[in-house]
């Protein structure tokens, strides 16, 4: 083979290869859209007669003998799977008897029983979907499986398990959930929301996490102790604030002390506001001093009105205004300081008597 022939072959190969690859990719783009459009159309067609019936049940307007529900129970074939997806979508938006009826429908179809089994499936996506279903239906029978899934090897499963135990809302899941926060894949925000969903019965778990938990668990526990008014947490929050191990935990502890702290905690908060601590801790401590409402904090806050960090100075001014007449007097006395002047102007616009 001569070099010219080799080059000609190469050109042909390159031209054809490139063209084919580009065409294949263009076809793939169109194919992806086509497949989705056809699938959605088919699902819509199958669901068209069922959708009004589902809405009837969800709106609580089924007849007394449950005619609509029976119609849904009788659905078979491919429509049944589409119906399940639709019901799962709707179920999160309704409460009371209609929600119970829809859960009953899924139970009749054996879906919930199956979901508890599928939480132990070797396929990650199957475990995630099963947990999602258990959560949507708030199925207490699936609680143990969901708690186990908090320690699953897959972060996606762990993440879904957090939401599921939150939706079920049983406080028994609080400790395992806080323990699971030590691992990646459990979103701090999801965990906080899930714990809020479990109600007031979680305070022991929060105190336990605050004392011995992973820093992520301590952050969430501190935040929720403040949010839920767990006054017994104050000594532990002070310990977290004073340990300075982790600024995120310390900042959360400071913020919580603003809500559930005691008058004697002013000292710990005042110390945390000192300039050599991390900015988030200082800021949270200054705001907490205002929220705590103890006049003893006035001199400390006044000292921060000329802090070089604008947010600290402004927070101090806002806190002083929140502390009542003595605090407001201190701000007025320092009105020439930028932070005090601004805070006073804003407070006057809001109608605060200063």
């Amino acid at each position: 083979m001569t070099p010219t022939l080799t080059l000609a072959g190469l050109i042909t190969l390159a031209a054809v290869g490139t063209l084919v690859a580009c065409l294949a990719m263009a076809v793939t783009v169109i194919g992806v859209k086509c497949e989705r459009a056809l699938r959605e159309r088919a699902v819509e067609r199958r669901l068209a007669p069922l959708r009004p019936v589902v809405i009837l049940v969800a709106a609580g307007e089924d007849t007394e003998d449950g005619e609509a529900l029976q119609r849904l129970v009788a659905v078979t074939g491919r429509s049944r799977r589409d119906l399940h997806d639709l019901v799962v979508q709707v179920i999160g938006k309704v409460r009371g008897e209609p929600a119970d009826q829809l859960v009953e429908l899924l139970r009749e179809h054996g879906l919930l029983e199956d979901a508890v089994r599928r939480v132990r499936s070797p396929l990650t996506s199957r475990r995630v979907r099963a947990l999602h279903l258990i959560g949507c239906c708030r199925d207490l029978a699936g609680l143990d499986a969901a708690i186990d899934a908090l320690e699953d090897r897959s972060r996606r499963v762990r993440s879904q398990a957090v939401r599921t135990v939150g939706q079920i809302g049983d406080p028994r899941a609080a400790r395992p959930l806080l323990h699971a926060l030590r691992r990646e894949g459990v979103h701090l925000g999801d965990a906080a929301e899930a714990l809020v969903g479990m109600g007031y019965g979680i305070s022991d778990a929060l105190l336990h996490a605050l004392a011995d938990g992973h820093p992520r668990a301590r952050t969430v526990a501190a935040h929720l102790c403040g949010l839920g008014g767990v006054r017994a947490a104050a000594p532990l929050l002070v310990t977290q604030l004073e340990s300075h191990e982790d600024p995120t935990v310390a900042a959360a502890a400071a913020a919580a002390l603003g809500k559930v702290g005691r008058p004697q905690d002013v000292g710990a908060l005042s110390a945390a506001a000192l300039h050599f601590f991390a900015f988030p801790v200082r800021h949270a401590a200054i705001e907490a001093l205002g929220e705590l409402g103890v006049e003893a904090a006035v001199p400390v806050l006044t000292g921060h009105l000329d802090d070089p960090r604008s947010q600290i100075a402004e927070a101090a001014a806002r806190s002083l205004i929140a502390l009542g007449p003595r605090g407001r007097r201190a701000v007025v006395e320092h009105e020439l300081l930028p932070a005090a002047g601004t805070a006073l102007a804003l407070a006057r616009l809001k109608g605060v008597a200063v």
Partner: protein, 458 residues
């Protein structure tokens, strides 16, 4: 040269694969995830908007920003000495009154801050700062100084955010509050779409081919490039159109450099350098879902200025931070990210221009075989078109924001045009920017003319 083109496009392809893995996870989560709410631990966000002569758009932009779905956010508009009625329309629309004596903040600024204004009702979380004209970077620094929340979202006045943009972008800050210091979001082109009250009501492909090519270009660089780089832990650029930073980190870094042309790139690199110099464990993350829409230039003159400026900024910043190259302390940023930017972002137009000039000359003088030239052309541009189409495929698979078949067809055609015509044009402009910097020519910013999207009548 062929090797260079193969390498650059293969690197894109690697990023496509990495991003596809991310999108796969996104798709898996899609059916089962909760409706995203900011949640219990949401940090406060100050949305900082520098505005210069934005009279026609500013009121609707601010209203849209104030109505973003987020539990704790404020809007800080910095009027950068506008010569039109920007400040007047804001004052009238929001009934603003001056606040005396505001704290100057931590980042030093050269410009004179004239006044701080807040709505008279004292409750609408809007702060307008008026200052003498000194450029976008200083305007942002003034905004960061005035911001009262823990995070600052820096956006352009003409950027349109998705209603839950802040919810999406703050998720990483909530989950990892001590390590995540900055987050970028996908910015997409809005030209040709219909916007009502600062919200997109109908998404369409632009009418001009120049803007259409940029739609594909943005898809590739944001959706694929930055998602991939963030996965590798070496995201070096957060777009100026939308970026969220921890305020204390921006302050520690000294704010945006008013003398830098690539100020967004420069800030991101400075944050990387500062965190690594201090030995801090940190993360800069990226949200692949579209969170921000912006108007891209639809005229050659504006695009010319933009690309010339971008490349100049790229060169000046890379040169300023050359000390980070191949240093163990800077990890993947110094060993992977920066070398990539030098080789495939900075040098690309030079090598492509050399190819465009030398190969035809070589053919003309018989030095280069015609067939070899054809192979070079076919493989390099064909591969580039393939990569653009792959990016589109990823978009269609994961987000499919364009619902019309027509738009998809246009996008496929634009992927071809982007590589055969558009790209060659920008090569020359980028080189021009680089050359201007080497000669020490002063940068002229110019004015962005807006015409790309339709504002629906109220």
């Amino acid at each position: 040269m062929l090797v260079y083109f193969l390498l650059i496009n293969s690197s894109y392809l690697v990023l496509v694969v990495i991003s596809a893995v991310e999108f796969r996870a996104h798709m898996d989560r899609k059916d089962t995830r909760r409706e995203q709410t900011a949640g219990e631990l949401a940090p406060g966000v100050s949305v900082v908007v520098p505005a210069f002569n934005e009279e026609p758009l500013i009121v609707s932009s601010v209203r849209a920003l104030l109505s973003l779905r987020y539990p704790q956010h404020e809007v800080v508009v910095v009027d950068d000495g506008s010569t039109d009625g920007t400040l007047r329309v804001l004052t009238e629309a929001f009934d603003l009154v001056a606040v005396p004596n505001h704290h100057p903040g931590e980042i030093p600024v050269r410009a004179r801050v004239e006044q701080y204004l807040v709505p008279r009702n004292g409750r609408t979380r809007l702060l307008v700062v008026s200052k003498t004209n000194s450029g976008r970077s200083e305007a942002i620094n003034v905004g960061v100084n005035a911001a009262r929340e823990h995070l600052v979202a820096i956006i352009d006045a003409d950027s349109i955010l998705e209603p839950d943009a802040l919810v999406r972008v703050t998720q990483s800050f909530i989950d990892d509050p001590s390590r995540v210091v900055a987050a970028g979001g996908t910015v997409r082109a809005i030209n040709g779409s219909t916007v009502s009250s600062g919200r997109i009501v109908q998404l369409r492909m632009p009418r001009s081919w120049l803007a259409r090519a940029q739609v594909v270009e943005y898809l590739r660089s944001f959706l694929i490039g930055r998602t991939g780089w963030a996965s590798l832990g070496a995201l070096l650029l957060i777009s100026g159109a939308f970026g969220v930073y921890r305020r204390d980190v921006v302050i520690d870094a000294g704010g945006l450099d008013p003398d830098s042309i690539g100020e967004d790139f420069e800030l991101c690199l400075r944050v990387h350098r500062m965190m690594r110099d201090r030995g801090r464990d940190y993360r800069i993350v990226f949200v692949p879902e579209p969170v921000c829409w912006t108007e891209v230039p639809s005229s050659r003159a504006v695009l010319h200025r933009q690309r010339s400026r971008w490349h100049r900024g790229l060169w000046e910043t890379l040169w300023a931070y050359r000390g980070m190259l191949f240093r163990r302390r800077y990890g993947r940023v110094g060993w992977v990210g920066l070398p990539y930017y030098w080789l495939f972002e900075l040098m690309a137009p030079l090598i492509e221009a050399a190819g465009l000039v030398l190969v035809p000359l070589g053919v003309l003088f018989g030095v280069v075989n015609v067939q070899y030239a054809l192979v070079l052309l076919l493989v390099s541009y064909g591969y580039a078109i393939f990569v653009s189409l792959a990016a589109m495929c990823a978009e269609e698979w994961a987000f499919h924001r364009y619902d019309r078949w027509r738009d998809l067809g246009i996008a496929v055609a634009a992927a071809v045009f982007e590589n055969l015509g558009y790209r060659q044009m920008t090569v020359l402009w980028r080189l021009e920017g680089w050359w201007a910097s080497l000669r020490g020519k002063q940068q002229v910013w110019g004015v962005m003319t807006r015409s790309g999207f339709e504002e629906e009548a109220a």
